[in-house]
Symmetry: C2
Subunit: 311 residues, 2 copies
């Protein structure tokens, strides 16, 4: 059984939901498929960098966006997509869900964001959102004048350290190698920043605490002991675009695996669009706000494209 619509939006995070709101306002018939309302944002313990909506839990934030989408009559289908194939005869895309349902659409919008790499340290899952964070820009401000640790040594870890040093009292960078892998100008700033302390050739062996994270255990001695008391731990092991379901599409990716998009959100494959963290857009600044803006831009482009096709 198949249901054909003009547009299928894959992903129910900020990009997909913003695209849906704009598509509804443009009168584009569409469905949204996404397992988790709000996507990654639903896991953020508090969001305060989306202008106009102050200090809100990721859950409440996601609910508000979901409500905004649904008031235009759109139901979000809580499923994962298994595969997307071109159905050349009908000039549509065939989208198969993990529950075996099949949808056909003239246009697909890929908006499934990224997955944070996890390290699977004991305690990591338990303290996620209770001191363990995967996003310094999202959560850093909640550790004002506190002590935090960062695991990682690449550009994102170093950027996070400098960002957090502006806010926190003390920032430890814990890195398994013996030097950071980041741009020279960042490194100099790290060296000159008295708040930042580097712990090289060390891994975090355990994360523990009560209701919230209280300390971590290192795999070797530092300042005479393995225990480090911190209020927050930022895991900056990188993210990967979440796009395995789209492997049958001929879309160009950048060196990091992100979907290359034109200014209007088009991918290299006609009829396939992308928005949000999954793309190389917005100067690669991956935020709720920028993802949503890409969703809006893409919805307009899809509206125009569908109008041209129906000529």
């Amino acid at each position: 059984m198949s249901n054909t619509v003009d547009l299928i939006i894959i992903g129910a995070g900020p990009a997909g939901l913003a695209a849906s709101i704009y598509a509804s306002r443009y009168g584009v018939e569409h469905s949204v498929i996404g397992l988790i309302l709000g996507g990654q944002i639903s896991e953020t313990h508090e969001i305060d960098n989306y202008p106009g909506m102050e200090n809100m839990s990721g859950f409440d934030f996601s609910q508000k966006w979901g409500h905004h989408v649904e008031k235009y009559g759109i139901n979000i289908i809580p499923q994962r997509v298994r595969s997307i194939k071109e159905a050349k005869e009908s000039q549509t895309f065939e989208i198969e869900l993990e529950n075996n349902a099949v949808y056909n659409a003239k246009v697909v919008l890929l908006a499934t964001g990224t997955k944070r790499r996890q390290l699977n340290i004991p305690g990591e899952a338990e303290f996620r959102g209770k001191g363990v964070s995967y996003c310094a820009t999202c959560d850093g401000f909640f550790y004002k004048n506190k002590t935090v640790g960062i695991i990682g040594g690449g550009d994102s870890a170093v950027g996070a350290a400098l960002y957090l040093a502006n806010i926190c009292q003390k920032v430890y960078i814990i890195y398994r190698k013996n030097e950071l892998r980041a741009e020279p100008f960042w490194l100099k700033l790290i060296e000159n920043n008295e708040k930042i302390e580097l712990i090289y050739e060390t891994n975090v062996a355990k994360i523990s605490g009560g209701d919230k994270l209280e300390k971590i255990e290192l795999d070797k001695d530092y300042n005479g002991g393995k225990e480090l008391k911190i209020d927050g731990l930022f895991i900056e092991a990188g993210s990967d675009p979440d796009i395995s379901y789209a492997k049958d599409l001929e879309i160009k990716l950048d060196e990091g695996g992100y979907v290359k998009i034109a200014k209007d959100g088009a991918t290299s494959m006609p009829g396939v669009w992308a928005a949000g963290d999954i793309t190389d857009g917005s100067d690669k600044f991956r935020q709720v706000l920028t993802a949503a803006a890409e969703g809006a831009i893409t919805a307009r482009s899809i509206f125009n494209w569908l109008k041209k096709q129906s000529k």
Copy 2:
């Protein structure tokens, strides 16, 4: 008397306010100068296309954004900028306000948006926000199944007509010339759309009603009379970037007078950045959401730039 800060943000609309929130979170010392909190959005009678904030008056919306900015300790200076000059000795920019106050800043962010062209038709000012609108995407949805008129004949008027035809029962395009100036594919769609009616070589002479707009008077007969009953009138006479105060800066503009920006929001002049409706960014889709995203991207870029300078 002069006050030197790292960053001056000029404009208190979505781009400037989002940039301020992000700059605060990055720890960048800055001020915001803008006469009207919210900028153009403060005039919109209702906004419903900013995800997560449903059906809000432009005034309330602007207040929320202002509050979000101010909670980080930033005061918005309610003034207009008269001029910006390079102060080469101090390697800063000198910003003079209309009240003669002078500020110096290492970086300036231009975020003053656009001004809608007004036609100065009798009744236009009186019914602004009560049926007269300058933005179909902002306000169109409030005329669902109603009758609207559009003044104009360029791409923006034609785009507005197609957008409104998806929502409204009837759309009149009133244009002073004898053919539309828009892309062929748009024109064909206009011709084929039964809801859209063209009234050529005609001007609107008067706008009238009670509490709300009820009718317009044309300057020549149409269907046997000069009067046309409509619920809403969209004036699509174009917009112009609001940038006269920055004429002493050497920044490149596009053919429409918009500030050309790189992906990171940089203009062609070092130390000068731009975000929002004033730029050629976001595929020229000028919305609260896209303006705010540009503000965020630019704040990050400015943070990085200032860090590099202070090496």
